[in-house]
Amino acid sequence: MNSQLDTMDETFYANFSDMASYYGAYGGCFVPETLMPAIEGIVNQIDEITRDEGFRSELRGLLEEYVGRPTPLTYAKNLSQELGFEIWLKREDLAHTGAHKINNALGQALLAKRMGKRRIIAETGAGQHGVATATVCALLGLDCTIYMGAVDVARQQLNVFRMEMLGATVVEVDNGTKTLKDAINEAIRDWVTHVDDTYYLLGSALGPHPYPVVVREFQKVIGIEAKQAFQSKFPGELPTAVVACVGGGSNAIGLFHTFIHDPSVRLIGIEAEGDGIQSGRHSVRLASSVDPKAGVLQGCYSFLMQNSDGQVEETHSIAPGLDYAMVGPEHAQLWQQKRAEYHSVKDEEALEGLKLLTRTEGIIPALESAHAIAGLVKLKDTFLQGDRVIVNISGRGDKDMMAIFERSKKKDK
């Protein structure tokens, strides 16, 4: 076996040897005291558990033979011609279950198992993290409960059905805005109640310390593989830019992380602008022209959509995975340091992006990932001919077909 993974060096593995709870001013751990023993449990054990050779080889083996890593880096020839610069697609849509979420779900589930936890809970927006979690729980024989907002249940019904087939209990959350944020609230309430035997498998690079670093360490494989594949084609070179959609920020930080200290590489995150900033119906935390405001939500201090009293505002996006009020704390720091840039595209632009990639390359991206494509289109004048840009296709579009179909039917009327 001389797969790419075998040649990976130490940096491939999740590393928790010197975790800090803050990224500059952002992050922290704002949770009820009742959860502190569980959080301390993770913080105290994670380095030893994940450094263990048995853990490493099990995770690596599963990533390779179960998830199908490394995922390809595909040259998008037709799209490149259309936009006027080289576009390389990192194909997380080809990972088992159809999105990058499985990288993190697998890593954390193996961790939970070694911590002696038998019951896993998770939240889901698009349903992709829920499906990934239900999948690894089926594989590892763990009990699984998934919290999902009622609005998301309605627009991602096939994923609900998938989770249930995989043996998970899906709990529909009917309070608040009935989307991802409320699913997380309910998951936290479950965790507070069953803290002794339950592991909370958070799906994005947010929430209380240590989750932002845990999720990033299990997702950084995206960027590491992309860089390696890129450099096997262009030895010694770096891409001009790397681009990803940003919900909580896990696929983006997974792609960005290995490039942070390559200053020539533009790090570009695309947020969901919904019906437009002016409409108030959007999920833009950083890219907005108004001053972003930081606050605490669900354990974390970061940029947050909120009113002047500190009440969290309702969000909107056609992509359920981007429909969230807070951006992860590492993105907050990258934004503040001006190391990464954040832009936004509207629902309609994302739909056009989806159609564009589908038509030119025969790849139907998830609505979330379609934001990254639409971002490229929006920013195309900032690239020169000969530039090489890596775009993360964080997931495949199958889950969105029903919603897009319904929408086009409504439009035709």
Binding site: G295, G299, D309
Partner: protein, 266 residues
């Protein structure tokens, strides 16, 4: 060593102890069931046996609360309740020199967006004697604690039943006002039974601190108050009271009846 001060909150526990009673500590979401009723409800609780009233400033994402208090917060927000309006109500309450002292319960983002010092100053100005922030664990509380010490308002720390010895020791060292003992792991809400290990848990806490212990999360009846009063110095009653306040027409009467009932525990 911590900044030592005493305020009316400490006095309430001393008085209750002198009467050989546990301090009665009802919880009230401000702006629920309506903003107009908040002041008369506070007065009713005070007149009918409350020693300390925990006043909740509603927050959109109350992760430590069960369905009853969540719903009351949501309705209060729909009623247009803001921190500013809550402080107006508390100022009106303070003017009338009622017996029960007030402790604020709210989530950290509400304090942050008001500005920590501004928030703390307003607390002091309206006679609030303590602050409870359920999503602020010990590690994140240094900044707020410093300000509260300066303004002589207590920061109330939680002790959950699953706490480690080490952590208990650290929290006990910081404790002031009272220790908020959570009866079972979980969110706020009525429960059928009190935890069996309440006695040992209290003894353990008292090995480290003299600070009064108040039990909360799950207490709903005079019988449970009476049971708890054998072990702790104060009893916090939240969801069970809030449930009685659904109908604006009957809220005041129900609050009075409820308060009298629990205050006459055996």
């Amino acid at each position: 060593m911590k900044n030592q001060f005493t305020n009316k909150l400490d006095k309430k526990f001393i008085d209750a102890k002198a009467r050989n009673r546990a301090a009665l500590m009802p919880f009230l979401t401000m702006g629920y069931p309506s903003q107009q009723l908040s002041l008369p409800l506070l007065e009713t609780l005070s007149e009918n046996g409350a020693d300390i009233i925990e006043v909740g400033i509603p927050y959109s994402d109350p992760v430590a609360d069960g369905p009853v208090i969540q719903a009351s917060s949501q309705i209060s927000l729909e009623n247009g309740t803001t921190p500013e309006k809550v402080f107006d109500i508390l100022a009106a309450y303070a003017e009338k020199k009622h017996s029960a002292t007030l402790v604020i319960m709210t989530y950290y983002n509400i304090l942050l967006q008001q500005g920590l010092e501004n928030f703390v100053r307003q607390c002091r100005d309206v006679g609030v004697t303590g602050i409870v922030v359920p999503d602020l664990p010990l590690e994140e509380s240094k900044m707020l604690k410093g300000l509260l010490d300066e303004y002589q308002v207590h920061l109330i720390h939680f002790v959950p039943p699953n706490i480690s010895e080490q952590r208990l020791e650290k929290i006990a060292k910081q404790a002031s006002g009272f220790i908020y003992l959570i009866s079972v792991t979980g969110v706020t809400g009525k429960r059928k039974q009190l935890p069996v290990n309440l006695g040992p848990l209290c003894s353990k806490i008292r090995e480290y601190t003299q600070t009064p212990i108040a039990l909360g999360f799950g207490i709903g009846s005079a019988e449970q108050v009476s049971q708890a009063a054998q072990e702790v110095d104060g009893v916090i009653i939240g969801s069970a009271l809030i449930e009685e306040l659904k109908e604006p027409q009957s809220a005041i009467d129900n609050a009075a009846i409820f308060m009298r009932e629990v205050s006459h525990y055996e």
